[in-house]
């Protein structure tokens, strides 16, 4: 809402005027015990609905016609309008109750009126908050909620005590009214959030806002004065939201930091992951600027790393992709040499896959087959194949453990072409493990990309081949004899378990088939054949 959209703003002002009338009439009705005032309050709803619809229409037209990207600002208006309309419906319910009953004598008018007055003050703040250059007033709106909430809970407690002494219908009715006011305060909070979101250009809840504010003030930025511009950058599979934080004063929108917000458990793991990487292999992980927690939520502000992820590099020219991959390979070799342990760490690919089966079947129920029979030929079920392969897995020689990324997907690795440097992000699952864990995950994360252009598919195949060959080369130099077999198991695990992220049926099927093929293939070889095992490279093709 840095830019006012006069048409939309006009509808919002009409809506507000009528909503204030609706609330004022309700206040008068309670104060003067006047049934006509309730009627008057109820009569406003039609106008309010109209203004809301007109706002939505205008917002839609503006989005259609605007050349700039003002979507977030306009959505801010829509958000405010939706919250106001639900506030209006809540007022409507209260008026209905009070109109047909006579709970007023027990209503402890003074406190209820005070709460409603706070609500009214909140509404009065909306216009100045939208027109204002900073966020102070919007935050004030949000804070009114806490005040109303507190007054209402105290009141409800009193009613409860009275009700325990003696049951009275009036008391029940009064409790309902107070409860409704409590809900209305929550809606007011949403209004405030809508205004803040419109101003910041991204939807944000007040909790996150406060965390971001605290975090940024450590960096000497003041969010309320809008020295900062934040923009959404996506969501992770674990439900965290990621935003880019840029200085509003910079001529170019240079990103200063990444703000990640979500479940405390995930973010704490990530923070520990990053810090451990700083210890084990400095320079590969982003720097953490600040970490804030509150309840079961947390926020992390960390260094914005330049560079492109491998899913983007794939679309760039071949040379850049090749440089990126080879830079990655030499970085991995350094990391593995620097962190290698004497201890060998057995893989658990098959038990990981077993655990994923139910979520795979939830996405692709048709994958859940009990086994196949054609004449005399039989094919075991996936569960059975996994069990057989798990036995083979136990017999394999594990590699010496190295510190691995743990969630080594194409979009978690950054390559900076200019600096010729690799960085890792999303480090919440890093640990000491077999390097085939990371390599197999990376290969399949290439394969499962939703890129269907034959030229790109060919590059995907070559990238997978390159990763495999690099690993084979490392294995050879380090006398790791069972690399091919462990990779076959790791790839089978990733091909099958990643189908739960792939909704394209054909693509998902081809991954399942490849995974199954590997498991069937492995189940047929003898121990004597282990050391000559060759992974069928044809599998990297579509």
């Amino acid at each position: 809402m840095n830019k006012l959209f006069p048409e939309i703003y006009e509808s919002l002002r009409f809506l507000l005027i009528d909503l204030q009338k609706q609330l004022l009439a309700l206040i008068e009705g309670i104060r003067d015990a006047d049934p006509d005032s309730f009627k008057k309050s109820l009569s406003r709803t039609a106008y309010i609905e109209n203004a809301h619809l007109s706002l939505l229409n205008r917002a839609y037209r503006t989005i259609q016609n605007s050349s700039g990207d003002y979507r977030a600002e306009i959505q801010g208006y829509e958000h405010v309008s939706y919250s106001l309309i639900s506030l209006s419906r809540q007022l409507e319910t209260v008026s209905y109750q009070l109109q047909r009953n006579d709970p007023l004598k027990n209503l402890q008018k003074r406190r209820v009126l005070a709460a409603l007055q706070d609500l009214y003050n909140g509404l009065e703040l909306i216009e100045p908050a939208i027109e204002s250059d900073d966020l102070t007033l919007s935050i004030d709106i949000c804070q009114l909620q806490a005040r109303i909430e507190k007054a209402c809970s105290q009141q409800l407690k009193r009613y409860q005590q009275k009700l325990q002494e003696k049951y009275e219908d009036d008391l029940i009715q009064s409790s309902f009214v107070v409860k409704d006011i409590q809900y209305m305060a929550k809606t007011l909070l949403k209004v405030g959030e809508g205004v803040i979101s419109g101003k910041l250009g991204q939807f944000i809840e007040i909790d996150s806002y406060q965390k971001l504010e605290a975090t940024l003030s450590e960096m000497d930025f003041d969010l309320a004065e809008q020295q900062i511009h934040i923009h959404p950058m996506g969501e992770t599979k674990s439900g965290c939201t990621i935003s880019g934080v840029a200085s509003a004063s910079e001529a170019q929108d240079e990103v200063l930091a990444i703000f990640k917000e979500g479940q405390k458990k995930k973010l704490l793991e990530e923070k520990i992951g990053i810090e451990t990487w700083h210890e084990k292999f400095p320079g590969i992980a982003p720097e953490v600027y600040s970490y804030q927690k509150q309840g079961d939520k947390a926020a992390l502000l960390f260094e914005y790393l330049t560079g492109q992820t491998f899913d983007k590099l794939l679309l760039d020219n071949r040379k850049v992709l090749q440089d990126g991959l080879n830079c990655l390979f030499s970085t991995l070799t350094e990391i593995w040499q620097a962190t290698e342990q004497e201890k060998r760490m057995p893989t658990s690919f098959m038990s990981q896959l077993q655990k994923r089966l139910s979520s795979i079947y939830a996405v692709h129920p048709e994958f859940n087959l009990k086994g196949l029979q054609i004449g005399d030929a039989k094919q075991p079920s996936l569960e059975k194949l996994i069990k057989q392969a798990a036995k083979l897995e136990e017999k394999l020689q594990p590699a010496k453990a190295v510190y691995i990324h743990g969630d080594f997907n194409v979009d978690n690795i950054l390559f900076d072409v200019i600096k010729c440097e690799i960085n890792f992000i999303d480090l919440h699952r890093s640990e000491y493990q077999d390097y085939s864990q990371d390599l197999s995950v990376l290969m399949v994360s290439f394969y499962r990309l939703k890129q269907y252009d034959p030229k790109i598919r060919q590059r995907i195949r070559l990238s997978m081949q390159a990763i495999y060959d690099f690993g084979a080369d490392y294995a050879e130099q380090n006398n790791d004899n069972d690399y091919a077999l462990r990779m076959a198991l790791g790839l089978a695990r990733s091909f099958i378990s990643s189908t739960r992220f792939v909704l394209d049926k054909e693509h998902a099927r081809s991954m399942l088939y490849k995974g199954r093929f590997l498991l069937e293939h492995l189940s047929q070889i003898d121990k004597q054949e282990y050391k000559n095992y060759q992974l069928p490279k044809e599998l990297f093709r579509d």
């Binding site: 390979f329 081949q465 130099q477 380090n478 006398n479 093709r541």
Partner: protein, 97 residues
């Protein structure tokens, strides 16, 4: 028949023994890695790959029953446009062990 050489189609009525003969001939050809299909005028030579997508479809109605077997594999393509490997082996002396 004016069929293109990249397409072949055949249909005929056979007894059980003949069907088995044909299927065995097909199995042998797949094993060998070369299936020759010809109707006299045109011929088509298929070279099955090691990795083959096998799909079976069977259906049954009051009137008839049918079984379709479809085998699909990638072409062995020696002249694909982009086939240079992306992994460049680091020129380091082998670790002596």
């Amino acid at each position: 028949m004016a069929k293109k050489t990249d397409y072949f189609e055949h249909e005929s009525l056979q007894d059980r023994d003949a069907v088995v003969d044909y299927l065995q001939a097909l199995a042998k050809a797949i094993q060998k890695g070369e299936i020759l299909l010809s109707d006299g005028d045109e011929k088509l030579l298929l070279q099955p790959n090691d990795l083959t997508l096998m799909s079976l479809k069977a259906s049954t109605t009051k009137k008839s029953q049918s079984l379709r077997i479809k085998l699909t594999w990638n072409q062995k393509n020696d002249d694909e446009p982009d086939k240079e490997p992306l992994f460049i082996k680091a020129k380091k002396p082998k670790k002596s062990s």
